[in-house]
Subunit: 304 residues, 2 copies
């Protein structure tokens, strides 16, 4: 059970010398996901040694340029790298048409299959699930249709309590799978040994909530409740709450309020407006409400 | 009369940590042009202090990703920067549809007007002209429809030969405009003073030929003849002429042969394949045929 989140880009609006638009690389429970893909993402991936071939799923929050203009270049590069594995792309309706038109016009012939999952629901929905991770949407409120994504580890089997099991010589290795699955054991005598005596709780599944570009939206709190790690945009400081409201963004204070109300373990803020030269102010402001806040910065890795 | 060419990116295929796809910024006779616009171009423009607002004309050679995937981001940034001046974009048929669809889907509302000039001719044509510069296409041969561009300064008026003029007290300041325009002067006596006696040749107009992504194509020689500066792609060294032929690119040797045959003053090679670690080999190979060869490198400025 582990999470490692690499920030590839975390600034808003336009790429600048030391400001890269949104993109994050998530390793969770040995699965690998790319989240958002602003212009220059593939170069940031190389810079921070993200293995291109590990990624089979890309999640795009919304179709503003600073969150997806790097997608077509990356898909094209996969073609040049002779990728053969299929690639799943999740994002708002429209992402397929615009991406395929670009690839078609640039005659980027790829051997691999792209599978687009276009989203349009305004309710949280399960969009991906395997035996390691599930992914749900977090409906956000922005100027265009936008989703955050909640990545949650699958619960592991229960752990054997070997100390207690050794007290029952009759229990055999062959029973372990059943015990791990939570079943009681019936001895030859007919005595029932409760599973709770034979096992320990598995580690709590970790989760990462990615909330990109949204107005202050308290109704996401139940969806992201108790998340191990929350990234929440903070485009402005509280002094420009008016501008946040107008442009459908959040302040750092609002991001911290969401983190507090959802009782998450750790908050990362990012998507800073270019107007702020000193991004440490975002941390300072958030920490007044939610202590365990950190700043997204290109190349920074958050591990649990 | 001057040329200043800034290399923003000069590598082929995919953006890497220190490899940027094609883009060049040209100042010629006080006009400012952007040529090609691979992913990350706008960041390179900021890095090398190219004034965004000076550019009113963008020329795209062809619609392979490494030459135009940065265009939509730049156009979107112009919107964010509240550009109001109209912007002209030249490129192959299709560039308008793909660009406008991306801007529409990302709801990038721009105040400024974009004027697309879609090209489809296979013959060299005059596509831009004002009182300072003219631009012609250089039809190239690549895997998709591709043009290079020839930028030529407009000829200046003839220069007054004051030493000779002072020999004719009758010639007045009021005559100077006519003399500069090349007209003879008729004195009161009826004597005709030939313009060639009263003027000197103006400086020779400078020109820059941009030849991006092409097979070896000797028939461009007459178009770029005597150019002051030639950029010609050199994706491979001569040892991989087979691969150059197959992918419709050139070798450094072939680029040098074109420079020699066209009798240009200076050659710049670029668009190096990622397979070569030591790009100085491109210069070495070209110089065996054409001495005044230089390497394109990000941030390098070539001035005349």
């Amino acid at each position: 059970m582990s999470i490692s989140l690499t920030i590839l880009g975390c600034h808003s609006a336009t790429p600048r010398i030391n400001a890269f638009p949104t993109s994050q690389y998530l390793e969770i429970n040995n699965s690998h996901f790319l989240i958002d893909c602003g212009e220059g993402t593939q170069r940031q991936m190389r810079k921070y040694k993200v293995g291109f071939s590990k990624i089979n799923h890309i999640f795009i929050s919304h179709l503003h340029g600073d969150h997806f203009y790097g997608l077509v270049g990356l898909l094209s590069t996969y073609g040049i790298l002779n990728r053969e594995k299929e690639l799943h792309i999740y994002g708002p309706v429209g992402i397929k048409e615009v991406t395929l038109l670009q690839l078609k016009i640039s005659q980027s012939h790829a051997k691999y299959k792209m599978i687009f999952h276009e989203l349009s629901s305004k309710k949280s929905e399960l969009i991906f699930e395997d035996n390691k991770v599930s992914v749900r949407t977090i409906p956000l409120t922005h100027r265009v249709y936008t989703n955050g994504y909640l990545f949650t580890e699958k619960e592991k089997p229960r752990k054997l309590n070997m100390l207690n099991i050794s007290g029952y010589p009759e229990i055999d290795r062959a029973d372990y799978l059943n015990i791990k699955a939570g079943r009681d054991v019936v001895l030859a005598s007919g005595e029932i040994i409760s599973n709770s005596e034979l096992t320990l709780d598995p580690p709590k599944p970790l989760s990462f909530a990615f909330c990109s570009d949204t107005s202050y939206k308290p109704d996401i709190v139940p969806i992201i409740k108790e998340a191990s790690l929350l990234y929440h945009e903070a485009t402005f400081l509280a002094d420009r709450e008016d501008l946040a409201k107008k442009t459908k963004h959040s302040t750092s204070k609002q991001a911290a309020q969401i983190a507090k109300d959802a009782n998450v373990k750790q908050l990362i803020v990012g998507h800073y407006s270019g107007r702020y030269k000193d991004i440490s102010l975002f941390k300072k402001e958030a920490q007044e409400i939610f202590k365990n806040t950190n700043l997204a910065e290109p190349g920074k890795v958050f591990s649990i």
